[in-house]
Symmetry: C2
Subunit: 331 residues, 2 copies
């Protein structure tokens, strides 16, 4: 627990498809003007037009590589950390690699990690455990989500909430140990397994046996049950997380929460005493980008210099499963 | 590379659905008697009837727990390592947990790792990096595959080849360091990305835009290209793997290869000089169980005492992506 793991963010890049305003959604679905923002807190989000997940992931990685002046050949592992995918098989990381400019010129291994909305947090944690400065010097974690295609027009609350996008981070083993992971935790509460679900399209409700039905094959969330379980489990989770650390919750400079929903963020803000500027959000102009939410927001906060070297940063969120996860690191 | 990671297999369990003989398949699809075995080398495989992936995974885990006299509460992480899934969302590990007898009574975190056929090998590797004897003392890796539903009746070569099943392993941090991981490697060759693929059912060929078509939504493999790339890349992969080890390929007591295909196994046997009983197979009565092939075979070999404490074991295989992976450990 106290064995801090050396890991340093070298650079990050993002890719965002076309922005879609709430007014456009309201017009398309015949909703009252202002409904989207009032209901979901989202005024604009990005939705794919021509982009595949592989395409967005490759562009985000190239962006991060360019900024770090590194080559793909310097990378020892690519982890794709997300819930959506271009093909059921092969894994998404291999598809992203095949779309990279120099993807065919190197042999870097490709792995997928999926804890739905917490996938980036889990992959960051895994990267810290894998990086050893020898076999693994640099690891790319890329989170790409294309939620918009899997939404049902009958569930306008999901259409206004979800956005698409990609973020890639390059992590390196930090010799100086000035940047490190302090602690991570993931807890899964199986009683909430079905609160967030896509029922059709896997082996259980195979497409072969189930003609297309927008509702069966679309994303489904039981918002009330999700808020209930989050409210019940979050306080204990947070106090357990900090119980064996010298760092207190209040010492954290920046909190990057998953942008689950307006109500989810409000719940958290009511639950804890937060300092001004401690708690970050981008829900209003990105929506909930599933696993890409946390890294897109982290990227934005770093770009705006709102997170500085030496700062303590807490990634925190809930995910389908139902899970709560967090990761505390020194940037 | 030489920092051996303590990890010990405590126990393992499997679940296999109903066996299906080649004669049954030949009758069902109007194939000449003896075709299946001659073509694929598979005389019998298991195919699900009522079982979901969650169901098979839960039973395999309970089997492993029972044998180890451990409780689910003793486990610090559940990793589901495979390519097929009950639902597109949430992740499969959470679904498996929800099907476990005492799944609701504990908060153990649930993560998915996917490198298709090599998922168990990747998860074993990750488990070795996560286990620290403190936060993580025991990890379950479960590989469950239900390939049979995703096969096209137009591709009889895939119907005879693939089987369903589950295997669960309990790994522990080994204080005595008598059991450990010596080295692992994963290389992805993106030029082979599309050689093994399920084209429909992800975001790129979404159900919404593509009426059901058995071929689009079924597993597709370009066997000739796969053999070609494996033949080209495997020798260099193996010699690079052993190049910085004192252990030689010939010192390995047991090789557990992925049961990719009759031709794939033959290729490997022709490529290397193997000692009698060094190279293990179960293709003829299990078929290719995707990521579950390696752990089901490993489980069988341990049960038959063909792998003994102190022995060196090499897991090795190819996977969709296209990747080659291997892991050398002391049992």
């Amino acid at each position: 627990m106290n064995g801090n793991k050396s890991i340093k963010i070298i650079s990050s890049g993002i890719y965002l498809p076309k922005a879609v305003s709430s007014a456009e959604i309201e017009e398309k679905y015949g909703l009252e003007q202002g409904w989207c923002e009032r209901y979901s807190g989202v005024s604009s989000r990005h939705h794919v037009t021509f982009e595949s997940i592989g395409y967005m992931g490759a562009r985000a990685i190239e962006n991060a590589l360019e900024k770090s002046k590194m080559q793909l050949q310097d990378i020892d592992l690519i982890i794709s950390a997300g819930a959506s995918y271009d093909y059921p098989l092969p894994n998404q990381a291999s598809v992203i690699k095949s779309e990279l400019k120099n993807g065919l010129d190197c042999e870097v291994g490709c792995i997928d990690i999926d804890t739905t909305c917490l996938s980036f947090v889990s992959a960051f944690d895994m990267a810290s455990k894998i990086l050893d400065g020898k076999q693994y010097k640099n690891i790319i974690v890329v989170s790409v989500e294309s939620a918009s295609k899997g939404l049902s027009s009958n569930r306008t609350e999901t259409i206004t909430l979800f956005g698409d996008g990609a973020a890639a981070f390059i992590f390196t083993y930090d010799d100086t140990a000035s940047s490190f992971l302090i602690k991570s935790s993931l807890k899964t509460f199986a009683e909430g397994m079905s609160y967030t679900i896509i029922k059709g399209g896997g082996m259980l409700n195979h497409f072969r046996d189930n003609p297309y039905d927008e509702d069966l094959f679309a994303f489904e969330m039981n918002g009330i049950q999700l808020l209930k379980i989050a409210k019940k489990k979050m306080p204990d989770f947070i106090s357990a997380f900090f119980s064996d650390l010298e760092i207190k919750f209040d010492d954290v400079n920046v909190i990057i929460p998953h942008q689950a929903s307006k109500m989810g963020l409000a719940l958290f803000k009511n639950m804890f005493e937060l300092r001004p500027n401690q708690f970050k959000e981008n829900l209003s102009n990105k929506g909930n980008c599933i696993a890409a939410s946390i890294p897109i927001l982290l990227h934005e906060i770093i770009e705006k210099n709102e997170l500085e070297r030496g700062d303590l940063c807490l990634l925190l969120g809930t995910s389908a499963g139902f899970s709560i996860g967090s990761l505390l690191f020194k940037f």
